[in-house]
Symmetry: C2
Subunit: 332 residues, 2 copies
Amino acid sequence: MAEDSLDVVGIGNAIVDVLAQTDDAFLAAQDLPKGAMTLIDAGRAEELYAAMGPGVEVSGGSAANTLAGLAALGGRGGFVGKVRNDQLGGIFRHDIRATGVTFRTPAATDGAPTARCLIFVTRDAQRTMATYLGASVELGPDDLDAEMIAAAKVTYLEGYLWDAPAAKEAFLAAARQAHESGRKVALSLSDPFCVERHRDSFVELIGGHVDILFANEHEICSLFQAEDFDRALQAVRGHCEIAALTRSAKGAVVLAGDEVHVIDAEPVDQVVDTTGAGDLFAAGFLYGYTRGEGLYDCGRIGAVAAAEVISHFGARPEAPLDRMISERMAAG
Amino acid sequence: MAEDSLDVVGIGNAIVDVLAQTDDAFLAAQDLPKGAMTLIDAGRAEELYAAMGPGVEVSGGSAANTLAGLAALGGRGGFVGKVRNDQLGGIFRHDIRATGVTFRTPAATDGAPTARCLIFVTRDAQRTMATYLGASVELGPDDLDAEMIAAAKVTYLEGYLWDAPAAKEAFLAAARQAHESGRKVALSLSDPFCVERHRDSFVELIGGHVDILFANEHEICSLFQAEDFDRALQAVRGHCEIAALTRSAKGAVVLAGDEVHVIDAEPVDQVVDTTGAGDLFAAGFLYGYTRGEGLYDCGRIGAVAAAEVISHFGARPEAPLDRMISERMAAG
């Protein structure tokens, strides 16, 4: 793989999403905290699935969604993540490759099945997730693709990996490899509960290894135990090279040293399903970043990509993002 | 199972659909006849899947879609079909049960995997299908659920079953069982190519065993080798008790003895994907029929259910069909 042949390599959980519509009463009855991601074991996954309505299966995974978005924008990406050699693993492998992303992590041949995330979408377009990590926790340092990491301008890590010990090790090894090759390391905090589980080590990690941090308002407030967004914003300044903070309908704030940009959210006719909004913001941002765009434009591309994905069911883009972006950016 | 405890029991191929968007050039390159269903073997299924874009998996199968539609309308249904005990089989079982349909056909524990249908949707909303029948051809007379057949007002069979010898036998046995219990037998012709493959035996079957025939214009013309719809219409009269003939945007014609009804298609804002239109027309029609509605109203309910399913991606209803129907029927 030639130097600079990839824009971004993503490392994350390889997950197939199972989406179904539901209501608040179901979430309450099943004790699922609305809007968040809960980790579940195999038994609970079976129980919850049995109670769930008819589903739609689509490949997911936070970093994998970001890479699929990057590819839809015209970027060149790679993905590292672990599936089992089962039917859901075959679906994940097919879909990520079909978007144009390089994926060559070998599938596990025994152990737990491919990870799945049960996603409950309520009428207010919120998504509540219950993830059975299955084979994805088998990802370890040996699965890292040193050639891809060296070839990619940015190595993008999802915070969810921190939940599995071997993956956490792989995560740190990837960050080291990227920096040794003179590359940038980006991290998405993934989820406020994930931040809560790993707050101290995340703060340390970000200070020591992360160049570009993606977080939404809840995550960044949780990370710094800040009472409001402004305090979190002050706390994150200087903590890493770039921080891109998303705030749903309130848009995003991008910080880099003394540089500050406030980006409006892109208007959406109807928000159908917010699954993947953060993942696609990161995709758009990194697409701009790896093309040398200014940080304001990176944020705007992120906002357009996020707007597309929340206007339909599912966490990967459906519309031709590359054309959308060039039209929107030309419109100014 | 108490007498009359079910409205309809459907017998058909138990299939998981894999939907992706594509263009005419892809169909031509892959030699797929646009708008039709082609049967493929395991090797070709793998090859085609590898060439296909990122997919969305949803439970499908023609009769199974009809039963899911019936359940969404508030009807009580059962389904008989064969999956393998694999992940796709688990998805099929979950989804059909989650719609409220009774499904208890045991899964095959060896042999071919669960059937899948690769569905290529073009921008003109047409769907072109390539089906790998897998485990579904293992359905045989032993899998019939005599209790369900006796309990259901209508036994609904899909023409596609005629492609597998054991399923064909099951099909005939089910028709006999239904009639012995004083029940009605309905058949959907499924596909013009399917009709071509089995024309003579279909004509014989319909004359001898079928009370209610569902067919679209192409299928009924193929069945009677008629040059136009009018000739097919004359040919089908008297051939079975009721014939419900669908004509896409031109609506439907329902014939029963001397009775003739012409039903307009229900207007649709935007046709997104015609997959499932015929299946949902049958669902609506049978829902009305099993409630004792007149044939004109049966056709109208069918038209509303079909309109819903073509206005989105996928072959099973998303909107609350029961409410839609009562609103539309009240509006007159």
